[in-house]
Symmetry: D2
Subunit: 344 residues, 4 copies
Amino acid sequence: MKVSIIGATGYAGAELLRILHNHPQVQVMHLTSESHTGEDIASIYPHLRGIYMQHLMSMKDMDKISADSDFVFIGLPAGHAMKVGLALEDTPVRIIDLGADYRFSDTDVYEKWYKVKHTHKNAKRVYGLAELCRAQIREAKIIGNAGCYTTASILALAPLAKNHLIDINTIVVDAKSGVSGAGRSAKLGNHFPEMYDNFKAYNVGGHRHTPEIEQAVAALSGEPCVLSFTPHLVPMSRGILSTCYARLKPGVTAEQVDAAYTSMYGGEYFIRLLGRGGYPATKEVRGSNFCDIGWHIDMRTGRVIALSAIDNLVKGAAGQAVQNFNIACGFDEKLGIDMVPMYP
Amino acid sequence: MKVSIIGATGYAGAELLRILHNHPQVQVMHLTSESHTGEDIASIYPHLRGIYMQHLMSMKDMDKISADSDFVFIGLPAGHAMKVGLALEDTPVRIIDLGADYRFSDTDVYEKWYKVKHTHKNAKRVYGLAELCRAQIREAKIIGNAGCYTTASILALAPLAKNHLIDINTIVVDAKSGVSGAGRSAKLGNHFPEMYDNFKAYNVGGHRHTPEIEQAVAALSGEPCVLSFTPHLVPMSRGILSTCYARLKPGVTAEQVDAAYTSMYGGEYFIRLLGRGGYPATKEVRGSNFCDIGWHIDMRTGRVIALSAIDNLVKGAAGQAVQNFNIACGFDEKLGIDMVPMYP
Amino acid sequence: MKVSIIGATGYAGAELLRILHNHPQVQVMHLTSESHTGEDIASIYPHLRGIYMQHLMSMKDMDKISADSDFVFIGLPAGHAMKVGLALEDTPVRIIDLGADYRFSDTDVYEKWYKVKHTHKNAKRVYGLAELCRAQIREAKIIGNAGCYTTASILALAPLAKNHLIDINTIVVDAKSGVSGAGRSAKLGNHFPEMYDNFKAYNVGGHRHTPEIEQAVAALSGEPCVLSFTPHLVPMSRGILSTCYARLKPGVTAEQVDAAYTSMYGGEYFIRLLGRGGYPATKEVRGSNFCDIGWHIDMRTGRVIALSAIDNLVKGAAGQAVQNFNIACGFDEKLGIDMVPMYP
Amino acid sequence: MKVSIIGATGYAGAELLRILHNHPQVQVMHLTSESHTGEDIASIYPHLRGIYMQHLMSMKDMDKISADSDFVFIGLPAGHAMKVGLALEDTPVRIIDLGADYRFSDTDVYEKWYKVKHTHKNAKRVYGLAELCRAQIREAKIIGNAGCYTTASILALAPLAKNHLIDINTIVVDAKSGVSGAGRSAKLGNHFPEMYDNFKAYNVGGHRHTPEIEQAVAALSGEPCVLSFTPHLVPMSRGILSTCYARLKPGVTAEQVDAAYTSMYGGEYFIRLLGRGGYPATKEVRGSNFCDIGWHIDMRTGRVIALSAIDNLVKGAAGQAVQNFNIACGFDEKLGIDMVPMYP
């Protein structure tokens, strides 16, 4: 399959290039960047020297990109992927958007949280969290790849929500991310000496991944969902750990919780269940497409605490995009993304 | 004042030495270590070379220590400080225990969580969280210095609990600590290559600081308190950030929350209020005795999210111990601990 | 090819498992560990759960290992690989030793620096630095895989030495390594809080990689070589940067230096020449088998300063081992090791 | 003494504020910043909230600054301190410049390396490396505070140079610095995800600290000095380790080397000699004004390798500035800078 990347110079784009280089069914065609048009990708990312030779194109050359591509991956700021979606609407090119433009079934929610007008409301789109939406992804024209915090959080909560084991309105998601999640733009807050040996929260009550988690939990449980989500920055490059709290419904047993995880994920290669009492660690999934999940029943408080770890750039972005691509192409889902975590 | 440190080779002991060197009213007399008796403190902590010349004594020489000291600081594992407390009971020596032996008014709670028999139940002891217990500390024979996670968490929750602004049984405390909090014993989990670029939770539902926070919240609110507390390890040396969630009682306004913090802490030098919407960062308190606090009202979920940051070895251990010492001695509370945070 | 790993629980062993999982011509048969015999490899390295199911055997079961393997990789402390080499001498099994037992043509040098008696002096062995010894590796029974510091340092110095551009006795190699190079044994010096935000030298004048670099430089230049080598620990997991100084011989021009690098490495995939004035960075090769090299001519001092960066666990250990394996098997040299560096 | 800081918003300025807060003889009067004039210092450095209340002035208000100050510290880019020096020439205000404008006795050298015209060539200035220039500092009008790399490197080399123990033209200085040395301006190379888990050299053969080291070595030895100096960036906030190589002159013994260090530094509080075979570590001096030095005699190569560690912002900038200030004021040299290193 011929693929191109629109907006290739963000960290997710670079990670796609890392992964696609070893995908046996992929030929990377074009890469675009509006701020670096004409430059060599290896001058932007020197670690790619000797591996990728492409010069960066402008997305204005969409006709050429469209003609040369079976699939495009999009890594653009909110509001811009829709332009690509509209431009490719009548072409056979299929789309995986790593941004948020196509993640919401209710575009009013998108507009409210992203402060961007949605201009492609009737797009044929599916939500791109592979383990939960596999069937729809197969035929999709446009896949709205799930976000990083959301992938970790939804996968941790899904068995609890789907099986009605928790009181939905008690959910608290306390999430922690490596700094690559904040992107590649240099700014004071993420200047090395400022962030090293430092830890802090940000966007309390207002992070845009909140409604995406709520959408998924509501769909799984059949109940409306309003939850607390708090992101934090960890002084490390990659990785997300999501700590999810919820009150168990009266009478729910630890065994029921165990069974919910096992039955939902027992057959999933990329979800590794560490069991009740298990402790995922971001380093144990670093560089891989795995999501490790453990859960704890705290009888004193009546709460379940579910923990999940992913690499934000792999299962939280580029890896999941390729997983969705594999599903959409009918390939083995593991093709090109069966990397062993890089440890230590 | 002549002071000695019983159990001086842990990180809290080393931090005491850092602080006491610049305390104008203190002369450090004896240091003990059972595993390094007879060695030079600077051979254990080379950063102290040229500053401290003491040889490490055994705590078996308690008579000499007692005779030469007005105050002893204790940095021993759970269960061992009680031995010192008993040995010094009929002496004029006053005690600040950096461990947990003297933190609990109900020793049954201590015994249950620490799995240690309490042998000094009738000790005249006070809880050593300076801002909350100042009056009692003045006259105390034995001060049970507050724990690290607990100091951060209690200071964040206290105004809410005391003013009955939150539903006590909805409290969730999600706390994150630098690795120095795990002590100086080398073990695989904290081996540099294992913990670097890594993040994980531990002791979910079972950490010993849980009942200490519950004790304080219950005392402040007058209601029994059972809460969720989850500690995490951050790949950094020092610092704790505590993210505290609770549901506001119906009708509570943001202004009431603001007022609770301001009225309780407005006059406290070591508590810096960042206000509603503020984001404390561990690096902004590193090396200092400050506790920075910010709070957020999330109207969507009806929750308040309070954030606090401390240096676990200073305000969470040695700094607070010296603050308590100053109070107990009638000194200016800031004496020797008015360090500016070390940034960056 | 069926391969086994003798001594699989060190970091190099774990890295071999990471790499071999995606090697299309390899089936991993047996893994051994004397300290963890009988345990599951994923209990020692949880990041491997779901990927490797092997139980760890003892190397005492060498007959079974030998019968089931075409190749064995050895990751044992100095002196122990020789036992395996002797045991497999009359079998068709071929050996790649990641340790030092088979790296020296002069075993007296080995014995002097390693303080270990060499018991397999007549072994048919070749030095396993792929770019320099490719021809001999093809037919080798035993390959003494080059060390980590040595790979980086020799590759930086080789064009200079081979082309007689430098005064050999002025070579100074100042090398810096991530902490994984010190192995997985937890000890105080590499305890996270001790090594984080810390930098130091060790083993000045006495590191065992010194004679290995000297052996290679002497062989390339045809002159005896005694050089200074100083290793340092960098507070990071992986990566080596080697800064190599030498005085240029009178009259040597910058263009001659450029030509030496280009002619020697122009066709090498795994050596990426950054050119005169280039600055390799460890992160740009992290997780990959690349060695990035830049060089600088300082006319003021008459010195050339050559810089090289590798991932100590890949090109400095497991990746190079697989590269040597590919050569020895007649496979495409890149098979299974054409990983893109993991950035950021 | 009343002091002001011209250019207070760089890391050295912030570190001066940290130190001066606890200096018993100092009152901080004015702080300037051209880019943040009118702002509160604590809005630029939130860790200072509650401690410093100053609003940032412009250096255009030099008359007021001059009238209110006994001393000014300057933290400005090359070329700008001279303007202050000229403006204050006929005032009683004394100056400590943390930049390079007043470090060179030969201003041609300054102009060549800094590409800046020197406009204050006849300034009465002294070089501000306290241990070497104490006598001149006492009476100085303008003190050109020594640079960070240079302080570490010169202190390591001085006893060797002064006692003619080494061949001056064989000196190689391989230095490593934490990222705070690169300043507070956010740029891609020091963006957290780019520099974390990364190590690299920069400015090979061209770093401006080179001639400053050469000037000092030449002055001490009485011989012209041209040496190699290579700076590297370590993924940590603070600290410099300098590894200095030189060939011993024929017949020089290890004991002579030991004696050179002991006789030169035996009475210096801020220089801690770790002896022959000693290994300084940056963390053991972090936050303090100490310079730790160890040295190694490598008989195989005939070289001495001297190692020194400092905190680049303390002994390498603000701490040394206050040490010079103390000397210039006739105070105890340790006043306000006798901080214990912050460990771990």
